[in-house]
Subunit: 432 residues, 2 copies
């Protein structure tokens, strides 16, 4: 891979998400060589992807060049690479751009969509885990409305304006809320020839409440907000298939829809070499001890979504969210330094900073350790926290400007089909 070997130990980090970046930062002042690999040249702020999909933000505002993050860390190198396999015996990685040796390896590969083996859903649904995926969803939503204008078949038109979001975690709830606001504020102006009141937003959930990772109080309030916005919330309904036209469920309900967004599950993004059953917990996450060490391999670690670190409070591993990832990355950084200095490692201690979700304008729910609140204040807290965690001063300013504008004008201006997305053949069209 053409990276000269330094005399100090080499730590290779796979993944430039929250965990990988916070780890690299921790190691930047120490006597180790850090090589960060990612298949994108940017860090993605995933919590705001739904705003890219719904035209509220531009993609570049919630992404940040990894090279720029690392530029002041003279011991860190970045390579744009897709890791294909880990050879744990020879301590090397096989990637699309060549091989690389490591002394210590950290898997910070995050998570990917879990379709639970359902092929029809995998083939026909939209997902929202990366920026290109979010842009595809944006394009599809807009293309559907353009198409709805053209058809004289009422059923087809209804299906084109019917959105089914499966999974009522933060992603599903936030997307549903944003679509409901678009339906109310933007569609009637953009499509005067179309009866946009017929547009439907369905949020389908197999469990008995939305935002099930949060408190019941937050769930109930969020559901109330969603209903106020006109979202149809379906509980205890499990979507069982989707052929691109009809979504079937385990109940008698079916949905005729041109857009099914699958936000119902994620799984660890593992890599060949640590994929054997012995390494994995439920949800494809790699089992690690309290020092983030992969079971049975001393020099390989996993942090963030891909790691399953069991604890008393979270017997199935910490939630797959930004906070545990950031904290595990930082902790592992400190521990790697201790390891190199032959000091005893410290076990991971999770500081629960709470969780939050926004449903729409002035509507959010916040669970902190000792206090819960919902509504306008929660919404401001949500915005402040997200601006704070966004990387880059320019990004913060641009996102802030967009939010202020969108708030005052009830608008979302980034509704452009930059790359048309044709769902039929699952390909981007070279539309120059």
């Amino acid at each position: 891979m053409n990276i000269p070997r330094l005399s100090c130990p080499r730590v290779v980090i796979i993944g430039g998400g929250f965990a990988g970046i916070s780890l690299a930062k921790k190691l930047s002042k120490h006597d180790v060589q850090v090589v960060l690999l990612d298949k994108h040249n940017y860090h993605t702020f995933q919590p705001l992807l739904y705003q890219v999909s719904t035209g509220g933000l531009e993609p570049d505002s919630i992404a940040y060049p990894i090279r720029k993050i690392l530029k002041d860390f003279s011991n860190c190198s970045f390579r744009l690479a897709n890791v294909l396999e880990i050879n744990t015996e020879k301590r090397k990685l096989i990637t699309n751009i060549g091989k690389i040796k490591y002394d210590y390896l950290v898997l910070a590969t995050g998570s990917e969509t879990n379709f639970f083996g359902n092929k029809t859903i995998e083939e026909n649904s939209m997902v929202m885990k990366t920026i290109p995926q979010s842009l595809n969803l944006r394009s599809l939503i807009l293309e559907n409305f353009e198409e709805a204008l053209l058809t004289s078949d009422l059923n087809e038109r209804l299906a084109l304006m019917n959105f089914v979001i499966v999974g009522a975690g933060p992603t599903g709830v936030e997307l549903a809320g944003a679509l409901a606001e678009i339906k109310k504020g933007i569609l009637p102006k953009d499509y005067p020839d179309l009866d946009t009141r017929m547009a439907q937003i369905n949020l389908v959930q197999s469990g008995d409440r939305v935002l099930k990772e949060m408190t019941i109080q937050a769930s109930e309030k969020a559901e109330g907000f969603l209903e106020k916005l006109g979202v149809n919330v379906w509980k205890n309904v499990c979507v069982t298939g989707y052929d691109g036209k009809t979504a079937t469920t385990d109940k008698e309900i079916t949905f005729e829809t041109a857009t099914l967004v699958w936000a119902a599950g994620v799984k660890g993004a593992t890599i060949k070499g640590v994929e054997a059953k012995e390494f994995l917990a439920k949800g494809n996450r790699i089992i690690v001890n309290e020092f983030s060490q992969v079971k049975g391999i001393d020099n390989i670690f996993a942090v963030g979504d891909v790691a399953c670190m069991e604890s008393e409070e979270f017997p199935r591993g910490y939630p797959m969210m930004a906070q545990p990832a950031i904290q595990q990355g930082q902790q592992l950084g400190d521990n790697l330094v201790r390891l190199l200095e032959n000091e005893p490692l410290k076990p991971f201690e999770y500081k629960d900073k709470g969780s939050m979700a926004t449903i729409g304008r002035n509507k959010a729910v916040v669970d902190l350790k000792n206090i819960r609140f919902q509504g306008v204040f929660a919404w401001f807290v949500w915005m402040f926290v997200h601006l704070f965690f966004l990387i880059g001063f320019r990004n913060r300013v641009v996102v802030f400007v967009n939010w202020v504008y969108n708030y005052i004008r009830f608008d979302r201006e980034a509704r452009l089909i930059i790359r048309p997305y044709k769902k039929r053949n699952k390909q981007f069209i070279n539309h120059l």
Copy 2:
């Protein structure tokens, strides 16, 4: 096409560029039905495309949803459509979404890249006329540097860092300047492992001066600015072929380069039905009279880049720039109203508002009617004028924030490979 016919005459406009939009605005308060067709759902502010290519701006900041522009004009409909053919006898258009009848037709289709029949250049070069094309160029530039890191072949590395821009009009000059600034300010930080001093920016021009549409004073000053920035300016050199590796010229010079940007010519974007030789002037532009009427067809008009309206000052038609397009669109709007009211038409009179180009930080050249100036003040004027003509308040604020940030920090943060562009197979890769 499912657009109900109103009792008033129907004007169909093809193209939502400067000319088409200014025409639609003029007609919005009159008793005509306006149907605007475009193959994108957004208006593109072309003069700033080079900043998207070079990571200075995000694509959504220089584009604007056409539906949003038209939303207050109750007599205007928009359709996302690609016009395939004009049937001038039956007064109807054939498009990819169906047929549409017109009473009056306005071609505002703009221009497209002119390769002058050179197939090798067409197949292997990059162009910058649309937002997707600009994003492709951005991706390719960044991908080249990532690739340059990997190769141990010095010639290959040099070719990956060698940029050849053909054509020294505003697009070529502005792109060359921006690349030179990136080379100086960003590459050394982003690629510490790479000797980025070896990166070359070549601006190749068949004529004997850059910016040949401007005054000699502006040309000379611009060339000085370019040289100060380290751009190699080649004059009287004509690029004759490019196989993806080597660019040949009519002189003894050849360039080994992985990136050739073709900005050496444009031609009118005509449509089947008005493509016969009798309609066309040099550069594929449709010949129109002083009322923008197409020769021999009373109810078809052409405005902007695609129209060749001869005048004393411009015997080969007005320059293919924003100003003539905007003014012709407005003028035609007034004339169509006159036509419907059986009043005599007024011939087009061009108000030359001058021209300008920016080369880099504090470096621009401005030619106004009675005054010419260059340097810092010209640069501020350039920025002010471009912000002023940008559509949308949000866009102006976001672009302004970006420019201030880029100016203070010597930075361009939108250097993200959102859609990898693989030149080899000329396809976007579905890189999820």
